[in-house]
């Protein structure tokens, strides 16, 4: 299958971290689709590769809030930010992280993020990110603010090339 579901999880007990490990290197791209639910405070999905928590992530983002468009860049982040934020337990946000050539060791890793939220402070976002590391990605760690509530979903897909 060219587009294959690799891992899928629906959170059954509130948790601060969702992690995908031992990611097979048999695909070319990965797609991580998330629909987190707020447990306490705001919620989003930020991802790190291979547990790298150093400031090795670069981002340029473009978003609109229904009134204004904004673009920002960050030269040194400690994760790829999902940007969309759920501010209440009834808010629903969706994020898709597209990770290109994740197992190739000849280039830094490129990530396109699309996210949106319908809540107070609703945003539609797109960003392009670069993890400044040529290592193959073998794990992805998802964290946000506080815990992901029961019912939050995370699905990882592999695309052959």
């Amino acid at each position: 299958m060219s587009y294959t579901a690799i891992y899928s999880q629906t959170v059954g007990t509130a948790t601060a971290t969702v992690e995908f490990t031992s990611i097979p290197d048999t695909y070319r791209d990965l797609v991580l689709v998330c629909s987190p639910i707020q447990s306490t405070g705001s919620q989003t999905v930020n991802i790190r590769f291979n547990s790298d928590a150093n400031t090795n992530y670069r981002e340029v983002i473009m978003f609109g809030d229904g009134t204004t468009t904004t673009s920002q860049l960050a030269a040194a982040r400690s994760s790829v930010l999902g940007q969309a934020t759920a501010n209440a337990s009834t808010d629903r946000i969706n994020l898709a992280f597209q990770i290109f050539d994740y197992a190739q060791t000849d280039k830094h890793k490129s990530v396109i993020v699309r996210s949106s939220s319908v809540s107070s402070g609703s945003l539609v976002n797109a960003s392009v990110n670069r993890w400044a590391n040529t290592a193959a990605i073998t794990s992805i760690t998802c964290t946000g603010f506080g815990n992901y509530a029961v019912g939050s979903t995370f699905a990882l897909y592999g695309i052959l090339a």
Binding site: T17, R28, V60, G64, T70, L73, H108, V128, R130
Partner: protein, 188 residues
Amino acid sequence: MPLGLGFFAAAGAATSAAEDFELIQTTALSSAISSIEFASIPQTYKHLQIRCVVRTSSGTSSSSIFLRLNSVTSAVYANHNLTGNGTSVTSTAATAVANIHCGFTAGNAANASAFGPAVVDIIDYTSTTKRKTVRSLAGANVLDNAMQVDFRSGINAANDAISTITMFPPSGLTFSTGSRFSLYGLRG
């Protein structure tokens, strides 16, 4: 909560029908080339998607990716874009141009290991009753202070089914070693 290999199978993995999203062709460059072409595209899908990571020989940090349909080189395309450069968001349009602009990618002045990603969708490519819309989401995140994210759309001026797609950088440039272009068909 780590999910190790095997979790998906234990959870009762969902499987799709046979190849609703199917790889048609991949070109991964082991040497520089001035253009890539997807030819003799099967007419058995509903839509097409191109996924690529690209770098060009441009002397600047970012560089364009262009696309043509069915080898049409005349000025019959139109483009629109919504672009964020880290400071502001701009939108422009162009009509009667000789290509579809898919976005910006890494040039040769970018960080040595930086490539630019792009996802390009071509809707209803086999239709003979409508013009073809090309939609792309791309970006160049190539230096710590030089980055761009692009939403773009393009349209051609003919109703012909698409059998050939050509992608190329600006005139005189090449796509660099390590660039990769993959074409997928989506059934519908």
